[in-house]
């Protein structure tokens, strides 16, 4: 059951680049029940401006005690977070959402782009525990080497060597993650677990559709509450109407969503 914890201590702050940080937060309550793909809603300041909490994927847990969020500074909320100090407290709500469904029968492939990589480390760990015989393939994309280095290293620590793609070619393939996917031998059956910018997820979905692979995508939407109350976080679904990213998602079967393909 999701927790509301007004004083979650920041025990560590790692600064990957000027605008990408990872916070480690102490919360046995959240760390012990979180599942990969779930997220938390964090209050970034004490004032009414900005007013709303901000959603962040749980990017890792450790020892049922700590969890991490990896984020990029894109606006006011994340900029306030980036100025926090170790030892300070944040108000956190979570874990929220459904999380990924790990399927051990198939080949598994984790595809992350940008901050979408955040939940995949957590997922990889859980997968290695659940399906020790079939370690997942990992494909990570980002702007440049700087943003990826620590993350690639973290996967390596799990024994997973990630394929990489960067916009500037500074690490791995110079281009898109789907271009990397095309080159890999993923077999006849492969489940893809995807999180990243919308255009990337669209591309991976199309790739999977073509090959008849299953594809789980983690959707980002505007969220006010994170728990099904505001009805703000909708994604159009194939059968008509909308799903709610915070409760029906954030992870959806890509087939069930409406993809606008230009």
């Amino acid at each position: 059951m999701s927790q509301f914890q007004e004083k979650t201590q920041i025990t560590r702050i790692e600064r990957f680049t000027e605008d990408i940080l990872r916070l480690t937060l102490e919360s046995p309550e959240i760390a012990s029940i979180a599942k990969p793909g779930q997220f938390v809603m964090i209050r970034t300041g004490n004032s009414s401006d900005p007013l709303l909490r901000r959603p962040f994927s749980i990017s890792q847990t450790s020892n049922n005690l700590h969890f991490q969020v990896l984020f990029k500074v894109v606006g006011r909320g994340t900029s306030i977070l980036a100025h926090c100090r170790e030892g300070e407290f944040l108000s956190v709500l979570g874990p929220l959402g459904n999380g990924f469904t790990i399927d051990c029968r198939n080949r598994n492939c984790l595809v992350g782009g940008g901050m979408g990589i955040a939940p995949l480390l957590f997922l990889a760990k859980a997968m290695l525990r659940k399906c020790p015989d079939t370690p997942p393939i990992v494909v990570l994309g980002s702007r440049n080497r700087e943003e990826l280095t620590t993350l690639v290293y973290d996967f390596a620590e799990l024994g997973l060597s990630a394929y990489t793609a960067t916009d500037d070619g500074s690490l791995g393939h110079h281009g898109l993650v789907t271009e990397v996917l095309e080159t890999l031998d993923l077999g006849a059956d492969c489940t893809n677990y995807v999180c990243g910018p919308h255009p990337m997820m669209t591309a991976v979905h199309l790739f999977c559709k073509k090959r008849n692979y299953s594809c789980q995508v983690s959707m980002e939407t505007s969220m006010a509450c994170g728990m099904g109350a505001c009805l703000g976080c909708i994604v159009p679904v194939e059968k008509g109407g909308y799903g709610h990213a915070c409760t029906d998602g954030p992870v959806f079967d890509a087939k069930e969503l409406v993809w606008e393909v230009k």
Partner: protein, 310 residues
């Protein structure tokens, strides 16, 4: 906290509706209550007002539906709801299990819609009251909102009252020149109470894309930003009518609740604050209990309308 809450007299009445305390949750901001069970002891609340229900299910507006603004947010949910039938067969069942008065917020496009929803809800067990959302455009009258014309507001009230078996609260729109005029009209229409304010109509633009931030272009502004407007309207309406007033708009804390009670509200609803602090409603109840104890009041009712105008 528990003991304070039982010892302090926080009871209030909205006409025939007796509440153990004046703190409710506002429609559209508390789901169907169950969503808040992890955080709130629901039966500590005065009442919960559920998301607006229409005759037929509505999918609501396309995304984006919400956007943050300075000290507030705009929403254009478009009244997504499961419709009155599924509300009764699904949502009410789980609500009946929760030991808290349930007030059902209803909306329609025509007078008949309102009348019919009220009729269908009339013999459903566990409904403590109906809150009539009259901010919706009247499709038969060219889309002018029921809540902006006194005669139409009175007619909706009378229609719902007629087919209802429970107390009827009418929820007023703040987007009017003189809210006291509408309040008096619904009082004349037979309302047991009025609640205010609904959201202010607003808009947000993304200058980079040159597009509105909401797919619906305009939306409803809520949150602390609107509190001064809400307080003013509650103060004016409480002086203008003799039925109880329920104050809504930007309430986040016990202090905010006290301000609305002083302005003349008999009870309050907490809306947007539930998103920021899911425990806001229960914390306000506890805060009121402490206040009554500290101030050595006989009951919280002592401060209702107690604003001192020097």
């Amino acid at each position: 906290m528990g003991s304070e809450m039982t010892s302090a007299d926080l009871r209030v009445s909205i006409g025939p509706l007796k509440l153990k305390n004046p703190v409710m949750t506002a429609s559209g901001t508390f789901g169907y209550a169950k969503e808040f069970e992890p955080y709130v002891n629901l039966h500590h609340l005065g009442a919960v007002v559920v998301k607006g229900i229409s005759l037929e299910p509505r999918p609501g507006n396309p995304p984006p539906r919400i956007v943050e603004t300075s000290c507030g947010m705009l929403n254009a949910i478009g009244l997504e709801n499961v419709g009155v039938e599924r509300f009764i067969s699904e949502k009410m069942v789980s609500l009946q299990e929760v030991n808290v008065p349930v007030i059902v917020n209803i909306l329609g496009d025509t007078l008949d819609d309102y009348r019919e929803i009220a009729a269908r809800l009339a013999d459903v067990k566990g409904i403590a009251g109906i809150e009539v959302n009259i901010s919706c455009p009247n499709v038969k009258k060219g889309g002018v909102a029921f809540g902006t014309v006194p005669g139409m507001a009175a007619a909706v009230t009378a229609a719902v009252k007629e087919s209802s078996s429970v107390p009827v609260i009418v929820k007023l729109s703040p987007n009017v020149t003189d809210i006291t005029e509408i309040a008096r009209a619904v009082e004349d229409g037979g309302a047991d109470g009025v609640s205010l304010i609904n959201t202010l109509i607003g808009m947000a633009i993304d200058h980079r894309s040159r597009r509105p931030q909401l797919a619906n272009v305009i939306g409803g502004l809520s949150g602390p930003a609107i509190k001064p407007v809400a307080l003013r309207m509650v103060y004016q309406v409480a002086k203008a009518v003799s039925i109880p007033v329920i104050g809504i708009g930007g309430i986040e804390s016990t202090e905010d609740v006290l301000e609305f009670l002083l302005a003349g509200a008999t009870a309050v609803q907490i809306g947007t604050a539930n998103f920021v602090n899911p425990r806001a409603s229960e914390e306000a109840v506890a805060g009121l209990a402490s206040y009554v104890a500290e101030q050595k009041l006989e009951s919280i009712r002592e401060i209702i309308g107690g604003l001192i105008i020097p």
